[in-house]
Assembly symmetry: C2
Homo-oligomer: 342 residues x 2
Amino acid sequence: MKPVTLKEIAEQLNISVTTVSKALKDYPDVSKKTKGLVKELAKTLNYKPNTFAVNLRTKESKTVGLIIPVIVHHFFSNVIKGIISQAEKKGYLVIILQSNESYELEKKQIDLLLSQRVDGIIISLANGTADFSHLNQIIDQEKPLVMFDKIAKIVQCSKVIIDDRKAAYIATQHLIDIGCKRVAHFRGALLPQNSIDRFLGYKKALLDNNLPYDPSLVYICECGDMSFEEGKKNAKQLLKDHDDVDGIFINTDLVAIGAMTEFNNQGVKVPEDISIVGFSNWFMSSVISPTLTTIDQPGFKMGKTAFKQLYKEIQAIKNNKPKRPKTITLETKLIERESTEK
Amino acid sequence: MKPVTLKEIAEQLNISVTTVSKALKDYPDVSKKTKGLVKELAKTLNYKPNTFAVNLRTKESKTVGLIIPVIVHHFFSNVIKGIISQAEKKGYLVIILQSNESYELEKKQIDLLLSQRVDGIIISLANGTADFSHLNQIIDQEKPLVMFDKIAKIVQCSKVIIDDRKAAYIATQHLIDIGCKRVAHFRGALLPQNSIDRFLGYKKALLDNNLPYDPSLVYICECGDMSFEEGKKNAKQLLKDHDDVDGIFINTDLVAIGAMTEFNNQGVKVPEDISIVGFSNWFMSSVISPTLTTIDQPGFKMGKTAFKQLYKEIQAIKNNKPKRPKTITLETKLIERESTEK
DNA sequence: CTGAAAGCGCTTACAG
DNA sequence: CTGAAAGCGCTTACAG
């Protein structure tokens, strides 16, 4: 069963392709009668416009690309959901790619999306990304680009973020408020902006409370992938290095859960011996034992907002208006749970 | 900066578009010298073929569609990852849609994908799907279709599944082996084939062990969405209805975790009072307390396999060969953990 | 109100 | 080895 074309409809009705096309799109200069006939036949033949041809003519694909470091991740999968749900409302489809935290892959994927002629791109950067020419390439082509979560400040495009520094400050302040005197930090990879900002928030909270900042209390994730295993490893190392740490602010819930598992294995009690605050509010943080205090990061909303902004820019470009990059900061909040109960 | 076309390259080199096109695709009837010139210029101009035009000519989009009930779900997000990683290897892009367990949405989304002219579709059905004409529509158009996990046996297409009945049998048998005499079952929604099969496996295990099958021990999920809340609700109801249940086989880990949370709140001890086996082996099942015994379901592999099969069929159709639907069954295994430790 | 014609950017059968 | 021409299926400015 071959797909039906405008030509076939035109032949069956003995009218021109032009008129059929116009009738289906409700052009005002087609008679009601003709419109009726065309629409009816189109329906019975189950006509669907050939997107390839439409795209070629209109130079739009009604498709956007999304590049994400990891999919199997509570925060990111929520973002995906937010983007897809919003895109659907506007009649857009979403092509999803996973960069696996690799700069090389990310670069290739952007090339792919550009040659696919998507109407815009949404991205959260890989931990390994330090060069941004592949992103500027998107901007040079006047394609809308929206970054979220892991962004590059220097790139001139719209961004949807949270105030990582402030959130980290609040998380650390909470540990201090409940009495912690030696607060460590598992900061994740070195490069990503949000990792830097969270670290700065942690440091500022210490200094504002007249607690010394001790670099040996900051644990970096070399592997590039913030994972459960990383949390275990860091926790093990911390127990070797220090015996006086009474609180830790950890970059991601998953890592925090890894750390808590290690502490539990070694008989270190949370929160009695060490209090812990995570980041992101993964679902599982509310069901493990002890439940994990964390910063709620609105993934679904972030996805929705990112698409909305992208859509605005797509429209702006269509109407030959400037697209005006915008940075949108979403609210976060501290969720207090058992891991910091004193 | 407008995208470069074949025409521009041709003009700059004073040769025809035909030759440029052939040179770039390494046709044997173009001189080495010309090929060299064309390729060099294409590179410096950063030429990328216009996919719309290529698609229109070749009638291929190198894109496949994926419809999934929920994205924020450990099993499904692993499947997505598997599909995307395999697709990338073959140069295919993946458009992802979420049906939200709604038949209506699923139908619309298939229409969307078909009018987008994707080369094939991979789907896991919504719990609400009982009619399959929208799926047969895909098959009528001779588009490859692969179903996985939640399938419809009656639809003539390839399927990637596990042996749900067998897995459920093993799960239930495990509960009986450790001494359970009154085993309940949270079966999830009524319609999906895997829900039916798991129920049948549960029932058969009881009967094979000379335990009576009691329908009042089987809890159905009316809301259509197998969730944490559903687990809590069912657990609460079960405690009201029965005081002699000593084991439960639960359709999905997330629901099992909901149930364990409710039991914990009410002072019912797992596994001392009630032993629990889940299904799917979500990551969090290995870190909660008690850790959850479950059936490991290979999501990533399922995704990979589904795409591989789809790809084979796409190739077959391209070469005018029959596509021969195939059902592939992947292995599962029981993961014993604390929730069934006696 | 209707339609012939050009064109989007490519591919490929065919002629030379 | 090179290129003119047709055509994929649509949209739209223009003529009548």
